[in-house]
């Protein structure tokens, strides 16, 4: 595990430049796996759990991002269900919703909030 740089309880997980617009990466946050995304058009950053409860594998960071109506989503690479990047809600199956994390761009890095 790389050394966590703790600022308040925000943790830097990667460089902003690691995130290619429109794609995601997986980061380790303690024992948890988090998928962090940057959108293409507005450059906003989102973070949700990396675990796809339907496909049952840690793969959400590798899905395609986009929008459904005004919701910003990622589509699972396994079976294509959509997860709302802001709320973690699974659009096809409410019971399969996932955890979201507070995330921000700070001093050139992407930071996640511990225990968020």
């Amino acid at each position: 595990m790389i050394e966590d740089v703790i600022v308040d309880d925000w943790v830097k997980v990667c460089e902003t430049s690691d995130l290619i617009p429109g794609t995601g990466v997986a980061v380790a946050l303690g024992k948890e796996q988090v998928a962090v995304f940057k959108l293409r058009k507005d450059e906003a950053v989102y973070a949700i759990s990396n675990y796809d409860p339907i496909g049952k594998a840690n793969v959400l960071s590798r899905g395609i991002t986009g929008s459904v109506g005004d919701k910003i989503v990622v589509s699972s690479p396994l079976y294509k269900q959509h997860f709302d990047l802001k709320t973690g809600e699974c659009l096809e199956d409410e019971d399969a919703s996932v955890k979201t994390y507070a995330v921000r761009v700070h001093e050139g890095g992407i930071q996640l909030q511990y225990n968020s």
Binding site: V13, V59, S67, V68
Partner: protein, 841 residues
């Protein structure tokens, strides 16, 4: 008053239809069914499918239980032996007696066996019932040769069946031509040519004088001209004869050529007895098809109700496939109407014959014969039935469709009374009503109207009618690819080609809205790649790719990937095989030979992929694009290199083609196959593009498919040299890229392409759109820009960063669990907890 007692003799297709129709009325009747065969009604029309593997049960049209539930008394396997008109009773073989108020004769017909000495020998059979099928199968066991006597429709179908049973099959016909009833001379000749090409031996103008014991085979047929033919079995199919003996014995009038005489109300000369189906004759004509039989049954039922429908004859047009050969006959095929004129077209190269018969004044269609290609059948039939005025030059219907050909008759041009489904008498008007009442899919249409649930021949036309009616109702058939682009894939292609847009962002900005999604992104990514063929992982393209394309491997159920290097044509050196083995061993990858003649290594984690591929590339492998919507494999057979039958180098051609088209991004994946001779060991005819070697050059087949809905490829061009072959394939593929829908395999694309195969041939072979060189140019750009994406990726440090499970940690996915099975590792199931292996990094 007590209930009317209706007794139906015979439970074939028509008898059954009578019962169903009667039961569906609100008449209060007591129905008794007396069937001579041991089983309830079944679909005789599709009898031959049993030889293709269908089970006899699958043909059944009803069951004893179903009749019971309708309150019908039914006895099977006990034929009626006498009608007593005085007491109004019938008696059966087992001595049962039934009283009737109305009697319905639906006894059908039997196969006619000409009075040839020796005709009753063992292994002389007929073909009419399921029991006959069993006997033919039993007789064919272990022997080599079979003869069908009779070259009519049923005889040829039977010859096909014998061939399916693995016999060398012969047809012996007394007349000089095949299917003389339905076809004119030219059609009959072409049919013969095609059928002989399929290996069936045809002997016309042969009268059999006797059947005796054979020397080399069981039987020997001696012909009147002194020749003879030996065979192991004989099936008589020399016409049908109505079962009318009961009626004769009871003193009912029968026709000159047999058949119980009926009037327009299907009534016999006894007003309490009706006859329907093949046992009946109207105006000395026996209607040997099921649709007219159904009409008779309905007419007969209506006599018991207020509304009396009459049966005044029926159209005997037919369309069918005999031994895979399409044959169609419409109306007055022989031009017997006074003053009739005929147009005909014959192409011996493509083996197609078409003729039409028109009225004296050239304005109405009277009949038609189609052999080898029946695509105009529906149109011609509608012109004939509805007496629609012919276009100025009616010959355009049968001339090969290039430019200016007569358009297929759109559903809109038909009058509401046009009969679309003749099996169930469903008119265009009926279909439109059904659509208006909410049947918006073919499934619903079938359920509500029964259209297209009989022989199925009307399916295409029925769908056209439905679609056009939906359009009129304003039920929009929305073809936009997704909510972000109000365009079809084809429109997006046109935009890319004409505006030379090179990125998704530009596309979205100018022509779309929102952020895009998992549908439009890969679709547009694929179109961009088809035209500009840039590295798919370039910064501006990477987010468009499905995970499989991003990581250049197929994601498996646990999030790991598969590794499939290209093995062109399936040819591989021992050295390369060893490398694959070594790599698989080192990374403990599950190893399997794929259905595409190459090797798949499963279970690689993201961080392992670059190292694995480095080793493979060092050994001379390239990416196999198993992940892309692009060329998968060119399957080949060993061909002339080793095979004693090979006529050309199929492996060499497969390798050349695979190298030419590898990496090409297409609307869906596509596959090639090359076989070295007609034995077709590479199964090329199940591929999008199939090539088969012949003594005179390569034959090109297109638009085959395995998978979910298999489709046999169509012969596209024959006897090509390699250069022409490649030119056609270049054009074909680029035209597919230009016009197909997303995720539409070539098979489905062709089926939806207006103008079908002929149109495609015109575009590719005759260059009718004048875009041939443009298409070739687009392909050239692709070939020039080919790169092995794995090689490019390995040389790119920025990209390699992504090949880690975490961006901020060297750790790997700790949720992966495996078990060993048959010596290899596979993902553990959730319920497996014993012997689970966890990968440690």
């Amino acid at each position: 008053m007590s209930k009317q007692r209706i007794v139906v003799v015979g439970n074939g297709m028509v008898g059954h239809h009578y019962v169903e129709t009667l039961a569906a009325t609100d008449l209060d009747v007591e129905i008794t069914v007396l069937g001579g065969e041991t089983r309830p009604a079944y679909d005789r029309v599709h009898l031959s499918e049993v030889f293709d593997g269908k089970k006899p049960e699958e043909l059944s049209m009803t069951t004893r239980e179903h009749y019971k539930s309708l309150g019908i008394t039914a006895h099977f396997g006990d034929p009626v032996t006498a009608i007593n008109r005085d007491s109004k009773t019938v008696t059966t073989e087992l001595g049962r007696t039934f009283v009737y108020d109305k009697l319905i004769m639906a006894t059908g017909s039997y196969a006619f066996v000409p009075p040839i000495p020796g005709k009753d020998a063992k292994h002389c059979l007929t073909y009419r019932t399921i029991d006959d099928l069993g006997e033919i199968k039993a007789s064919a066991k272990g022997v080599k040769k079979g003869v069908v006597v009779g070259g009519g429709l049923l005889g040829l179908e039977c010859a096909n069946a014998l061939q399916n049973l693995g016999l060398e099959s012969h047809v012996v016909e007394f007349a000089p031509a095949l299917m003389g009833v339905q076809l004119d001379e030219g059609g009959s000749k072409m049919l013969r040519r095609k059928i002989e090409g399929l290996g069936v031996h045809i002997h016309t103008g042969k009268a059999t004088s006797e059947i005796v014991e054979g020397d080399e085979h069981r039987l020997r047929m001696n012909f009147a001209d002194g020749e003879h033919l030996e065979t192991d079995l004989i099936v008589f199919s020399a016409g049908i004869r109505p079962y009318d003996q009961l009626a004769r014995d009871a003193g009912l009038e029968v026709g000159e050529r047999g058949g119980i005489v009926i009037d327009y109300h299907c009534r016999t000369t006894d007003s309490d007895i009706y006859a329907v189906g093949e046992c009946a004759t109207l105006g000395n004509f026996i209607y040997g098809l099921v649709a007219p039989g159904y009409r008779m049954a309905e007419a007969a039922v209506s006599q018991l109700t207020e509304e009396k429908v009459s049966f005044a004859g029926a159209d005997m047009s037919t369309k069918l496939k005999l031994l895979g050969v399409e044959v169609g006959s419409v109306g007055d095929a022989h031009g017997r109407t006074e003053g009739a004129q005929c147009y005909s077209y014959c192409d011996e190269n493509a083996e197609v014959y078409k003729s039409i018969v028109v009225s004296k004044d050239n304005t109405k269609l009277l009949g038609a014969v189609l052999v080898g290609d029946t695509s105009e059948y529906d149109t011609l039939l509608q012109y004939m039935l509805n007496e629609i005025d012919l276009p100025e030059s009616p010959e355009a219907f049968i001339l090969p469709s290039v430019e200016g050909a007569a358009p297929a008759l759109g559903a809109d041009a038909l009058p509401d009374s046009a009969m679309v489904c003749s099996c169930y008498a469903v008119t265009k008007g009926d279909l439109c009503n059904a659509v208006q009442e909410g049947a918006h899919t073919m499934g619903a249409i079938k359920e509500v109207t029964s259209a297209s649930t009989g022989c199925g021949g009307c399916a295409a036309l029925a769908k056209q009618v439905m679609d056009s009616e939906l359009l009129k109702l304003g039920v929009e058939v929305n073809n936009d690819i997704c909510e972000h682009f109000a365009h079809t894939r084809q429109e997006l292609v046109d935009i890319v080609r004409s505006t030379k847009i090179k990125t998704f962002d530009e596309m979205l900005e100018k022509h779309g809205k929102g952020h895009g999604c998992e549908i439009c992104k890969p679709t547009i990514g694929s179109i961009l790649a088809s035209y500009w063929n840039e590295y798919v992982l370039k910064e501006e393209h990477i987010a468009l790719q499905d995970t499989n394309d991003i990581f250049l491997g197929n994601m498996q159920k646990d999030g790991t990937y598969s590794v499939v290097p290209r093995v062109q044509g399936g040819e591989i050196t021992p050295e390369k095989l060893i490398v694959l083995g070594e790599v698989a061993k080192e990374f403990d990858l599950y190893t399997k030979i794929t259905g595409g003649q190459r090797i798949d290594l499963f279970g690689a984690q993201l961080h392992e992929l670059p190292t694995i591929w480095q080793k493979l590339i060092d050994a001379g492998f390239e990416t196999g694009h198993a992940y892309g919507k692009s060329l998968r494999t060119a399957k080949s057979c060993v061909g002339s290199t080793w095979c004693r039958y090979g006529v050309d180098d199929s492996v060499g051609l497969a390798i050349n083609l695979e190298n030419r088209y590898k990496g090409l991004r297409t609307p869906h994946k596509f596959k090639l196959g090359v076989s070295g001779c007609t034995r077709e060991c590479a199964e090329a005819q199940s591929k999008d593009i199939g090539v088969i070697a012949t003594e005179t050059g390569w034959n090109l087949y297109v638009c085959g498919n395995g998978g979910m809905r298999p489709r046999h490829a169509d012969l596209f061009a024959s006897d090509l040299d390699e250069k022409t072959l490649v030119k056609y394939i270049d054009r074909f593929l680029m035209f597919y890229i230009r016009t197909a829908d997303r995720l539409q395999r070539t098979s489905v694309w062709l089926e939806n392409l207006e103008g079908g195969l002929d149109y495609l041939k015109a575009v590719v072979i005759d260059d009718s759109l004048n875009i041939g060189s443009e298409l070739e140019g687009e392909m050239a750009i692709n070939i020039e820009n080919y790169q092995c994406e794995w090689k490019t990726t390995i040389d790119n440090d920025e990209r390699l960063k992504r090949f880690n499970h975490f961006i901020n940690s060297p750790e790997t996915d700790n949720s992966l669990r495996y078990v060993k099975e048959r010596g290899q590792r596979r993902p553990a199931r959730e319920d497996e907890s014993e012997d689970v292996i966890r990968l440690v990094s």
